[in-house]
Symmetry: C2
Subunit: 218 residues, 2 copies
Amino acid sequence: MIKLEIKLMKNILGANDEIAALNRKLFAERGVVVMNLMGSPGSGKTTLLEKTLVRLVDKIKIAVIEGDLFTAKDAERIERAGVEVIQINTAGGCHLDAAMIQKACTSLDLNAIDLLIVENVGNLVCPAEFDIGENFKAVVLSITEGDDKPLKYPLIFKESEVTLLNKIDLLPFTNFDLRSAREDLITLHPTIKIFETSCTGGTGLEDWCTWLLQKVAR
Amino acid sequence: MIKLEIKLMKNILGANDEIAALNRKLFAERGVVVMNLMGSPGSGKTTLLEKTLVRLVDKIKIAVIEGDLFTAKDAERIERAGVEVIQINTAGGCHLDAAMIQKACTSLDLNAIDLLIVENVGNLVCPAEFDIGENFKAVVLSITEGDDKPLKYPLIFKESEVTLLNKIDLLPFTNFDLRSAREDLITLHPTIKIFETSCTGGTGLEDWCTWLLQKVAR
């Protein structure tokens, strides 16, 4: 086997980081906690968000920014939960960046929000590279994606304070090795918080929401 | 709901297309058919490839280029099938481009190959934007990713001559609407070929391999 390592240019990241720092300062001034929610297409981010909102909407004030290439399908789903939603369509772009979030926030009354959840574009690679000014990143990994994903896509798991091993109800129908995945996650990120969740059965959702409430209360 | 559409700059695509044209010319001269295999992380691309190689390795000469951010896990799996494999590690890059394929091909004896399969980085967005000089693109969509994915990530399905609806054995455990997904695929790409496959049960693999052999024979 022949192995080649080829690096792509990433000269746009410096400019992004400057805007992210401005966003972070603004969020701190207004007392808003911001979660950047990431994961592959179909990992279950939007459904998890729906289930999370149902549990939290009476306890804290939440707004959501939905990132998608096209369509407002996800934003329409989230709006039904009774929270303010801003849809960003990237017209094919593979991630949200700090400038997009800056622009979206001009349409939000940040003083009236405790928690801003940004659902990033479905992609296990690019979103992890772009700081948007969030307080913390969270990554959703579906059991059906396979236990090899943390080592194959290490950056997103290194960057994320919390990993949700989602669709855990499908575990018996896959060859996903839960112990191996947990070990790899901890190797990559020793302090990572891991939840096993199922939006079908409800497994783990209470613990996840309790943790999220504590993040906002701090 | 507020909707914003924000376009990213894509000025690197022109340079890529020039190299892709050179690759395409080279492949034609050497009589190699090239498939660009794409899909989300965990859609089942590598397992599908393993099952495909087992069925075709005695019939035609195949080589594989494996694209991954890090690790050679996939290439090691493919090598066991007894075909030549080149691993490209993008060191965090989210897609393969034409220059990477050009470089990798200098290590291959193209005259001795009928079919070159390029397994792209796991990503439903970026790989679709980069022509690598392939004859055709194929996209693997796992049933567990959800039936909304064709409309949410339209480019990759518009660009791909064939879609494999994979992990079809998990259909009973999901709310995936097969009819709706098929309708959306055909709306996006009226001539698209669709296979329903399962690498666990073997569903659809013979039909898929027969189709692939016909592509090489042409």
